[in-house]
């Protein structure tokens, strides 16, 4: 599973990385990422998750080939 993060999330994770572990939901992914870098707790709770470019909620079921984008709060304009 490929994960891409943006903006302030890049202070906590590589911009793009692979998840080899089996994760079945956004919630599981979230917990895994916080294990990898507990400091990300500062921003993760306010981030949105998108799978294949659609926003999904925490119960969303993941598949191995999904492309995950983790979206911090917008600051456009």
């Amino acid at each position: 599973m490929k994960v891409q993060v943006y903006a302030a999330l890049k202070d906590y994770f590589e911009q793009e990385f692979e998840i080899a572990e089996p994760v079945h939901s956004i919630e599981e992914l979230r917990l895994l990422l916080l294990q990898r870098n507990p400091a990300a707790e500062a921003i993760m709770p306010v981030c949105r998750f998108a799978v294949n470019d659609e926003f999904v909620d925490h119960r969303f079921q993941l598949h191995a080939n999904d492309i995950l984008h983790i979206i911090p709060p917008s600051s456009g304009g």
Partner: protein, 169 residues
């Protein structure tokens, strides 16, 4: 940021929704006349020379481009239907935007001014709060930080629920 030469476009219009180079404001405004529109409103969001009391040198915008483009296009289409707009355009910069330069532009054209103003404000509010676009502020002292996030969810408790100043109904 992913570089891209083919930005998504809104249905039936030729203006890119995201642009890595300065936006041609004159051309965009010139393209927004319509014989049935008595009111055209343009909003230009520009880099200010100060932010929270610090001197800003420039901004740099990052976007998840495919999603941002699709979301802006959807917001424009929704506003067009809601206010019977004759024209609705928007373009958001990516990359470096100097002080006084346009970071985002929204143009709305409607029969009457009430609709043109309301729709314009609606579009820019949603683009700013909802689309995956982020600014990094570079200060004159050489430091930089990710700037001015939407923090509506501190109040709503939901990253997908935003608070807009204007009643958009």
């Amino acid at each position: 940021m992913t570089s891209s030469t083919s930005f998504p476009r809104a249905a039936g219009d030729n203006n890119p929704l995201l642009s890595a180079t300065p936006i041609n404001m004159a051309a965009l405004l010139e393209s927004a006349h319509h014989p049935a529109a008595g009111a055209v409103v343009l909003f230009s969001g520009e880099t200010r020379d100060n932010s929270h009391g610090r001197q800003v040198a420039y901004l740099e915008y990052e976007a998840h481009e495919s999603m941002a483009g699709r979301m802006i296009a959807a917001i424009l289409e929704e506003a067009k239907a809601k206010w019977d707009l004759k024209i609705a355009l928007a373009c958001h910069r990516t990359g470096r935007v100097a002080v006084g330069e346009t970071a985002v532009v929204v143009i709305t054209a409607a029969a009457h001014r009430r609709e043109a103003y309301a729709a314009n404000r609606y579009i820019i509010d949603r683009v700013k709060h909802e689309t995956p676009i982020w600014k990094r502020e570079y200060f004159t002292d050489g430091s930089s930080e990710w700037g001015g996030n939407c923090d509506c969810q501190k109040i709503t408790g939901d990253a997908n629920r935003h608070i807009y100043e204007t009643d958009t109904n």
